[in-house]
Structure formats: C-alpha cells, structure tokens
Amino acid sequence: MAAGVETTTMGLDHRKLGMWTFLGSEFLFFGAFVSAYLLYLDTTAGGPGVEIFDIPFTSISSFVLLMSSLTMVLAHHAHAQGDLRRMRLWILATAGQGAVFLGGQVFEFNVFVREGLTISESPFASSFYVLTGFHGMHVFVGILLLMSVYVLSLIGKIKPTQHVKTEMIGLYWHFVDIVWVVIFTVVYLIPEIAVLE
C-alpha cells in the first residue's frame, strides 16, 4: 500500500475512504432484505407473525448493541490519545456487548423456532430470519475484527500511532449498530404496534 508515503489527492486515508465506500454499498444490501420483509409482513401462510416478537427482550439486546457504540468510540478515542491499554479495555467491552447481543439473538431464534416460526414456515419467516441473520453475521464479523485489533495491539502489530485501524473497525461497528437501529424500529416495533392497534 503506497498510501503511507504518498500524498493522496483528496487528503483522505485510502482505508477510511474505502470503508465508507463499502458502507454506502451495504445500505443497498440491507435495504433489499428490509424491503422483502416489509412486503411479506402479512404473508405468514397461517403460521406465526409479528405478534411472536418479545419486544422487552429485544429492547434490552438492542440497548446493549447501542451502548457498544459508545465503548467503541471510546476505544478509538483512547487509541487516538496513544493509550493502547485503555483502548484494549474498551475494545473488549465492545466485543463483549456484541457477544451479548449475538447470544440474545441465538436465544430469540431458539424461542421462535420452538413456537413454530421456522425459516420454511412462510415468506415472512424467511425474510425475518435471513435479514436478522445477516445482521448477526455482520456483528459476528465485527467481533472477529475487534478481537484481531485486540490481539494485534498486544503483539505490537498495531502501534499507538495507528489509530486509523481502530477507527476503521469502529466505522464498521457503528454502521452495524445503525442498521440495527433501523431494524429494531422497522422490523420489530412498528409492525408490533400496528398489530396491537
């Protein structure tokens, strides 16, 4: 990578520009799944529908994921200050919260399957599982990336000066969080409230 010793045209870091470019494209990825989900809200083929959601439970795991964004940004801040020790602490906290969220999702899926909502049940079920499942995959990849930052900084591969690396992972992590902000409202809350009325 020639970025380090050459001036860039727009004065931006290649990797940050690349990450933002990638995130722009991710909106079209999740947007398609959300659209399919909205189209199939009522297409439950007689099986369970949105009433199966456990809003209080999902609210808590959503809250955990949201707060992981705080620890993530604090990790980056610590790194920017050159404080790798605090950075690693916040990174672990972020990954931990991500893991809690994922555990919640696994638990939730298990409950739903036991209540009869399998992926083959209906287009509604398929679109719910594949949408939230892909989001879960993104969280999982995020945890892997966070752990790599943790380990690399331990073995000296990430230096205190290289906070762009933490920032990149952070951008990805916040994006995954943003997507969940949308999913929590559009997939869980609004349909549930519409059903309640």
Partner: protein, 639 residues
C-alpha cells in the same frame, strides 16, 4: 522492487519472487494482475464461444436434436453467465487494472493485495461455476434465473446463486479499490475535469458496481435459501412473490448493462481522438452523458418486465424513463462522430474497431428504443429480436470497444505492435461474422421465434429456418475471426515489431512512460497541467487552433526540477491466493446445504484475513514507515 529486505516476523515472511510462476501467483502489481485477468478472460471466452457454437449448431436447422433439451438448457444458461460475468465484466476489469493507475499517474491501485484478491476470487468463482458440469449438471435456469423455476430442486441453480455471489465479491472488492484509486491517487494537478474519459467511465462503472452488486447478492442469497435451505421467499405456495425476484434481479441487471458498456465507451473515447489526431469533441458533454447514463440506469429496471405482472402505470413510467436514457446515449454517439469530423483519420486496427463500435452500437441503441414502445414490446419480449438487440449492444458495443482497446494498448503492455494486416483481417471478418450472426435474429424474432428454446420449431416456417442458418454460419465466420485474433496475439507477443514508447502519437499519461511499462510505472510522478497532458507536452496550438509540435525534449521540461523520489511499491503476498481458496468449501457448502463446509470455508477466509493483516511489510506499515523520511514536501501519513 525498491527494497529487498523483507522483515521476517509474525506467522510468515513475504514472498520475494520477482520472476517465474511464483511472481505471478503472489503478485500485487496492478499490471501483472491486469494481464492475468486478460488471459483468464480469453479462456472463459473460448468456453462461452464454444457454448454459443453448440447453441447455433442445434438451431442451424429446424427440429434438430444434436443436444438434448436438458443439455441445451445448461449450455445456453452457461453461455449467458460466462459471457456476462466471466468475460465482459472481467475484461473491463483487466483494462481498469492495467490502465487506471497509469492514466492517473499513480504507481499502483489503492489496495494492491485486495486487487490480487479480486482476481483470484474471480478465477475461482469461474472454476466453481464450471465445476458444476462435473457435479451433476450446470445451471439450467437461464442467466436471469427467474424464481420459482430456479428454486426447483432439479434446477442446478444453487451453483448459479453461489457462483455468482463469489464472482460478485470479486467485483465489489475491485469496485471499492478502483473508486478509492481514482478519487485519491491522481497525479498532482489532475483535477476531475482533466481526467481521461476512460477514467471517468471507469469511475461511473465502479460506482454502478458498488451500488448494484449488493442487490443481486441479496436476490441470489434468497434464491439460494429457497433452493437449498427451504426458505419461502419466492414460493407461491406460501404466498411468496416470484415477481419480487424479477425486481431485485433487474434492479441489478439494468445497471449491469451499463457496467458492461461504459468501459468500452471510455476506451472508444480514448482511441477516436488519437486516430483522428484532434481532441475529443465535447469532453464535458461525453463525461456528463456517461454519468447521466449511470444515474438514470438505476431507474429503468422494470423495462425488462413489461410483460410480467406489473400494471399500466408502472409500464408507462418505465417506458418514459427508458426513452429518456436514449438522450445521453445519443449525445455520446454524435460527439464521437464529430470527433472524427474535420480530423485526419488513420485507420489503424483500434480505430477500425472504435468506428465499428459506434456503428454497431447505434443499431443496438435504435432497437433498444423500440423496446420502450411497450405495447409492441409484448411482441418482441423474449424473442430473438431481443437476443439481436442485446448482442448488438454487448458484442457490437462492449466487445468491439474492448477489443479495440486490446489492439490499442498492446504496445503499452508488451512494447511490440500487433500485426496490422492480421488486425484488419480480424476486424472485417469480425464485423461480417457479427452481423451475419445477429442481424438475421432481428427478423427471426419478429417472425415469432422465442429465445431459450432448445429446438427451432419447424412450424415457424422456412424463412425463420433460413435466418437461423445464416446466424449459424455467422458463428463459423466469427470462430475463424477469433482464431485470427488469437494467432495475431500470440505471434505478436513472440515476435511483434518493436513499437517504441508512443506508437500512436497518443494523448494520455500512460504513454509518457516507456513501453513496456516499467515496474514502478513512472520514475517521477508527472505533474498534470492539461487535459490530454501527454499531447500537450508534445504539441502546442497556434492561433488558428492548429497543433504544432513543440521542440523535442520539451516533454521532460515540466518535471525538470523534480527530484528523484523514494519509490514505494507494494510487496507481493501469498495471502490473497491462499485466502480465496476458502471460497470453494464455502460455495459448495451453500450448494449442498452443508453447514460444515460453510463453516470450514468461513474459518478459512477468516484465517486468511488474519494472515493478511499480520503479514510483515517490507517498508513498514502505512501509517508507520520504517525507512528514511519520504521526499521533501510530501506529507507523511495518509492524510
């Protein structure tokens, strides 16, 4: 390589190979990767061409059964997939790879290892798709893979879904790479409006890829989930909507058309001014028309679905947007013609292919407008008329332009010229064969021949039979023509006439450096003061607007005060190749619904990623160079 001291630490060292096969397998050099793309494309083009030969053999006469229906269906499906995803798109990528850094005055792309990754994923994705022939049959649901036919257990379309997703990863990675390269790595002074048109079209194309690929990825994942994992996205039995698949496919599929044609338009916009010895007519108009095509291209997708289950309002709206997109296309055609107007044309082979491009593409564009006449579209849709139309756009358009580019930049890559005599034989037979193959399809389609039919029904009548025979004869001519091209290519690589550094009296930066291109591209990064920078270093315009050569050696004057700089080149790496092998277990896992294979594939990809991250760098990290400070004036750090 500027530095041969490779730090040995972490899990692995870095490969040193600067020659032999190892140099190719581990290369991160954009030029080598571009060349690998090109030769891989040739192989897939031969396969796709052989498939088209089988198709035309079957349809040469009515009621003929050289191939069974099943085999025919696999063959035409693979022909489409191969030509779109394994030939035209990667051939454009070959040009992007080789030319983008050169034309913007950079030493490499923004992410060299990601670039190698893109190539290997493309190659393995292609091998994965073709492995289906050995594993119970190739995809047989047509290149559009309409659900719910494609989710049927007997359809082999899981290979299509998984394979195209793998190839899509390659394109997405490449798109991000090229966008960042173009935005962020231009030589000093190269403002947006000084960028060569090819760079502009590359930028638009890669944005189209960036935003269109995730949509097809979703459609293919849904297809895969339906076909293998029992999901119900498109299953009408439980209320799934097959038309949703069509929308998702064409939301990608229409930008895809422009993804295939825009690079060729860029190439032609470079060749024509050189051949006419005057600048491109209406540079700004060509650039904005290209960007407009890219943008509007997202808003016309449902014109592929005029006979599907969509209503009259949608049909009207998409008819209007489709007609609208013809305007910027027309602008480009007129600008190209007027680039020739008043010039002194030299009919070199690249120039011939470019003129052929304008002419053939115009035909494809005009038949395209007739598709927007929705009531009559119901007659043309899914007939050979449509087959004729899109081959005029993608073969007569994209392939003509791209092949013109091969002739044009061959000296840049090899330092040798391709034979002009054979090139002209190639061009004229290519033009003849092409028109003989696809011209009659306009008529056979209107006379009632539907596409994707395994047999030519005799009841269509003798006239349709004759048109089909002509099409089949055309493929014979095209085959001969392709062999001439191949011979020319190989013979010229081995014993071509030395070309010198600037055989065409060209205009853009890539010709500023010696041919073949040295490893570091530019010994000194040029400073750009004009559009067509290289031309302006050779010629000045007099008061009447006539170009006159400036004294020899002037070209160097621009950078006379530039100091030799430290040259930092990307290190070769094993990891892109090693990591991408993980797509095989991952892909087969998706096809056979085997979670173990998927897991192994994912773990492999993750381990590969870690290897990639940990890999030592010869000159230290990007934000932390280990060697002496960079040249004075350059800002350290990435910002």
């Amino acid at each position: 390589m500027s530095s041969s001291t490779v730090e040995k630490s972490g899990f692995s060292g870095r490969p040193k190979g600067e020659s032999g096969i190892g140099a190719w397998l581990t290369t991160t050099d954009h030029k080598k990767i571009g060349i690998m793309y090109f030769f891989t494309v040739l192989v897939f083009f031969a396969l796709g061409g052989a498939e088209s030969g089988l198709i035309r053999a079957q349809l040469a006469q009515a009621e003929q059964n050289l191939l069974t229906e099943e085999i025919y269906n696999q063959v035409f499906t693979m022909h489409g997939i191969t030509m779109v995803f394994l030939v035209v798109m990667p051939l454009s990528a070959a040009f992007f790879n080789y030319l983008i850094p050169l034309m913007i005055g950079a030493r490499d792309v923004a992410f060299p290892r990601l670039n190698a990754f893109s190539y290997w994923v493309y190659l393995f994705g292609g091998i994965f798709l073709y492995s289906s022939f050995l594993l119970g049959g190739a995809p047989n649901g047509s290149w559009v893979g309409y659900a719910p036919l494609s989710t049927d257990a007997v359809s082999n379309m899981a290979f299509y879904a998984a394979g195209l997703n793998i190839v899509g990863v390659s394109s997405l990675a490449a798109a991000i790479n090229f966008i960042v390269t173009i935005l962020n790595m231009r030589a000093p002074g190269m403002t947006f409006m000084r960028m060569p048109v090819f760079i502009w079209m590359s930028l638009v194309t890669n944005f189209l890829l960036l935003f269109a690929l995730p949509i097809i990825a979703v459609a293919l994942f849904m297809l895969n989930a339906d076909a293998v994992f029992g999901a119900q996205f498109f299953e009408p039995g439980t209320g799934g909507d097959p038309v949703l698949y069509q929308h998702l496919f064409w939301l990608f599929g229409h930008p895809e058309v422009y993804i295939m044609i825009l690079p060729a338009m860029g190439i032609v916009s470079e060749i024509l001014p050189v051949g006419a010895r005057k600048p491109l007519f209406g540079y700004a108009a060509v650039v904005f028309a290209g960007a407009a095509i890219g943008f509007i291209g997202f808003g016309v997708w449902a014109h592929h679905m005029f006979t599907s289950a969509i209503g009259p309002v949608a049909r009207s709206a998409f008819a209007l947007s489709t007609m609208f997109i013809a305007v910027p296309t027309g602008i480009k055609i007129f600008n190209w013609v007027f680039t020739m107007w008043g010039g002194k044309l030299r009919f070199t082979t690249p120039m011939l292919f470019s003129i052929g491009f304008i002419s053939m593409f115009t035909i494809g564009g005009l038949s395209g407008v007739t598709h927007a006449i929705v009531p009559h579209n119901a007659q043309q849709h899914d007939t050979y008329y449509v087959v004729a139309h899109f081959h005029y756009v993608l073969f007569g358009g994209a392939l003509f332009g791209l092949i013109g580019g091969v002739y044009y930049w061959f000296p840049k890559v090899t330092g040798k010229l391709m034979s002009e005599k054979l090139g002209k034989v190639h061009f004229w037979t290519w033009l003849l064969g092409f028109n003989l193959t696809f011209g009659p399809m306009h008529m056979s389609g209107l006379l009632g021949q539907p596409r994707r039919t395994a047999v030519l029904p005799g009841e269509l009548g003798g006239t349709v039979e004759i048109y089909n025979l002509l099409s089949s004869l055309g493929v014979v001519v095209l085959t001969v023509s392709a062999l001439v091209f191949l011979f020319n290519l190989i013979a010229s690589i081995k014993g071509g006439v030395p070309s010198g550094n600037d055989p065409w009296d060209a205009r853009t930066l890539e010709w500023l450096t010696p041919s073949p291109t040295p490893y570091e591209n530019f010994p000194i990064i040029p400073t750009v003061t004009h559009r067509d920078e290289f031309w302006h270093r050779k010629y000045a315009e007099d008061d009447a607007g006539k170009a006159i050569p400036v004294p020899a050696g002037a070209a160097e004057d621009h950078d006379a005060d530039a100091e030799p700089e430290h040259i930092h080149m990307p290190d070769p790496s094993y990891w892109p190749l090693v990591q991408t092998l993980g797509f095989f277990p991952f892909g087969y896992g998706l096809v056979y619904g085997n979670f173990w294979l998927i897991g192994i594939g994912l773990a492999w990809l993750v381990i590969g990623l870690y290897g990639w991250i940990i890999e030592p760098l010869a000159e230290g990290d990007d934000d932390d160079p280990v060697d002496e400070p960079a040249r004075p004036g350059a800002r350290a750090g990435a910002h």
